[in-house]
């Protein structure tokens, strides 16, 4: 908590082909027991019309990252530390007055939340809720806003939208509610759509509907998508680029093929190894030993070191940066990818390969 100055110097605005540029984002929660560095130095970029996935387990800081971008966190207890910057469409969001932020929120950036029941107001009809936002942001008459609400309900495939618009959230199923949330998010044609675990609360066939819907709508409207999830399967199908988070930090970035097929950070490798697949049937699943460290008591250097099967002395002394890996554009927060890791890296990759196919060696089911 070293406040540098009241008005920290801002970096230069990103070039116009970057829609969202998150730079060194640090969000801390001041709570009774101390400070929780929920997001600790996160940086990533998103181009217009592209999609990025943020993956991590519970407590990794992925949702807080999204909420900070939307500026939806209560300050205090949360504090966005000096030096953090979020550039959206050429403007810096964190230092923007709240009334301007409100114009961007819902209009240019929209968000879909995990639990569609609690994110809808139970005492208003869904049509009213969508129309309210349309009237507010697009400054149109009530009647036009209502028509627009029905149009967006139609867009997300809600049957007989005129009738549905007059219903209350409790009259709909989970999948329908999530469609309503998407309709609401899309009603103002945002440039960026943030979806925080949009299908986690849904059944697998309904999840398939919602994911296909998100995909086709993103293609149609050409908005950028930031998808937050713990499900690597959803990531594989939905996004082009991936950011993996662990204990508040970005541990790996790359394209979806790079990260899921040839992961280079030991955490990502372990995560992918632990997913049950056919190839592992009959063999033991490899596990990431231990649990996520407490945010009050983070390991001094590399945060994954206590659980890492490949760690050595260096990992306990020096915190690793995001290093470029052997693939262009793919970065991993691990010393394996420095000169010091030569030799160990090859061993690690071999161990990973083996863990991915344990069942195959046993000839399937044993």
């Amino acid at each position: 908590m070293t406040a540098t100055s009241d008005r920290p110097v801002l970096g230069a605005a990103p070039s116009t082909d970057i829609l969202l540029d998150v730079r060194n984002l640090r969000t801390v929660f001041h709570v009774m027991d101390g400070d929780v560095p929920a997001v600790d130095g996160v940086s990533f970029q998103l181009r217009p019309g592209r999609s990025i996935g943020i993956v991590g387990e519970s407590g990794s800081g992925k949702s807080v990252t999204a909420l900070t971008v939307m500026r939806l966190l209560d300050i205090p207890p949360a504090e966005v530390m000096p030096g953090s910057e979020i550039w959206f469409d050429g403007r810096e969001l964190l230092r923007m007055p709240m009334n301007e932020m409100r114009k961007i929120r819902g209009n240019d950036i929209a968000m879909i939340f995990q639990e569609p029941l609690t994110s809808l107001n139970p005492v208003f009809t869904i049509g009213d809720q969508i129309a309210e936002q349309v009237a507010l942001h697009l400054k149109v008459k009530q009647k036009e806003a209502w028509e627009r609400a029905i149009e967006s309900l139609k867009l997300v495939g809600i049957p007989s939208p005129e009738r549905r618009a007059k219903q209350y959230p409790h009259e709909m199923s989970g999948g329908m509610r999530q469609r309503v949330m998407i309709a609401m998010a899309l009603s103002c044609e945002p440039k960026l759509l943030i979806a925080d675990e949009p299908t986690t609360a849904l059944d697998v066939t309904i999840q398939a509907q919602i994911l296909e819907l998100l995909k086709s709508i993103q293609e149609r409207t050409d908005s950028a998508l930031m998808l937050i999830t713990h499900d690597l399967g959803v990531i594989a199908e939905m996004v082009e680029d991936v950011v993996v988070m662990y204990a508040g930090q970005v541990v790996e970035t790359g394209t979806v093929d790079q990260v899921l097929l040839e992961p280079r950070d030991p955490y990502t490798m372990g995560l992918i190894e632990s997913i049950p697949t056919v190839d592992k049937r009959g063999g033991r699943l490899s596990v990431i030993k231990g649990t996520v460290p407490s945010p009050f008591n983070l390991p001094p250097a590399c945060r994954f070191e206590p659980r890492c099967p490949y760690a050595w002395d260096l990992c306990r002394k020096t915190a690793p940066d995001l290093f470029e890996t052997d693939h262009a554009g793919q970065h991993a927060r691990c010393h394996l990818h420095t000169a010091a890791g030569v030799g160990r890296r090859e061993q690690a990759l071999e161990a990973h390969e083996q863990a991915m196919t344990v069942g195959r060696d046993l000839g399937g089911h044993g």
């Binding site: 007989s160 469609r179 398939a208 713990h230 959803v234 939905m238 997913i275 030993k289």
Partner: protein
Amino acid sequence: MTEGLPPTSPADATPPPVTPPAPGPDRSETDGNAPPPSPDRSAAERWTAGVEAATAADAQRRADNAAETEPILKVTGLKKHFPIIGGFLRRQIGTVYAVDGVDFEVQRGETFALVGESGCGKTTLGRSLLRLTEPTAGTVIFGGRDISTLTQEELRPVRRRMQIIFQDPFGSLNPRMPVSDIIGEGLLAQGMKDRKQRDKKVEDSLEVVGLRRDYTRRYPHEFSGGQRQRIGIARALALDPEFVVCDEPVSALDVSIQSQVLNLLVDLRRDFNLTYLFISHNLSVIQYFSDRVAVMYLGKIAEVGTVEQLYQNARHPYTVALLSAIPEADPRRKKKRLVLKGDVPSPAAPPSGCRFHTRCWLREKLGNPERCVTEEPQLRVLESGHQSACHFAEDVSDRTVSQVVQTQDVIDTAVAADVTA
């Protein structure tokens, strides 16, 4: 007998022998807080010593073991209907057909999985088997004995042999009880009155699931989700059961913790010769973990088969859709999905005929045959051990699936659903 058993273990010679368990070699490594692995034999000895209390039941059990070919569980026509009470006079105004006529068998030593979406009745079915909810109709034959007609008192010794691991590790442990009471409660109910003996047994079962023996005085809130699920498993195993219903044991856990618990379940299955009924909605976990699978839809079984039969050669349109819906963490396998229309109908008003006909892609492709609406399809055998409840099971093939997928539009799919709603 189990493979992991030390060949000349003295536990084998102990007079009232239960199958002496040997904990898996590296189980304790899977948990950060686990103790250093103890020698296999001492753990096994401690374990056997603790279960002497129930000698009589064990004799019965050995007799059952002899009848290896008999299925351990045979379920016939099982139904569970819940009344919907409402209206001015608080009368029954409807019925939820949660489980509506289910038949299946579970062989000793196999892992039988039940898969389906929420509301399909898989959890109710699991609970009805143990009579945690009283079934409305049908018989459950467990170890050669019909347990659906037993009185509560007669049921008690049977309960020891069939246990359940619950889904929610936060909701299923009483927050006001220390671990010793949570696990020991069942032992007490089964007549293990001696506190010392009970505590020892509790410690043993903690060790078996990879937790420290001295955790007994702790309360549930002191544990992480993965550790709590281990406590739930220890509770089920303390009674030394043969048959365990695992009701979504890993769905509340993070991916990295999930694999720890799955490995533990695999080890326990091997070491204690357990038979699992594994309830899950996660098809990848089932594929990894089980031998045979039953797919449930709206209170009925749609398809049963081995994992290979089901995953490679599904013969029910619902199974095909379910499999196609799983997002796979492999970007190389980007598949065009078969998206089902609309939502699962309410189990209080299940569709007539085939319950899946309102969402069925195959029926649509075949020109909406009337038979699906009027006649309820029964489970029929297609090949050895593979059963499907579809009138047109023979028409389900890769070719038909890809034809349907080609012509499908997501948005239209959802709109079309309203016709039936």
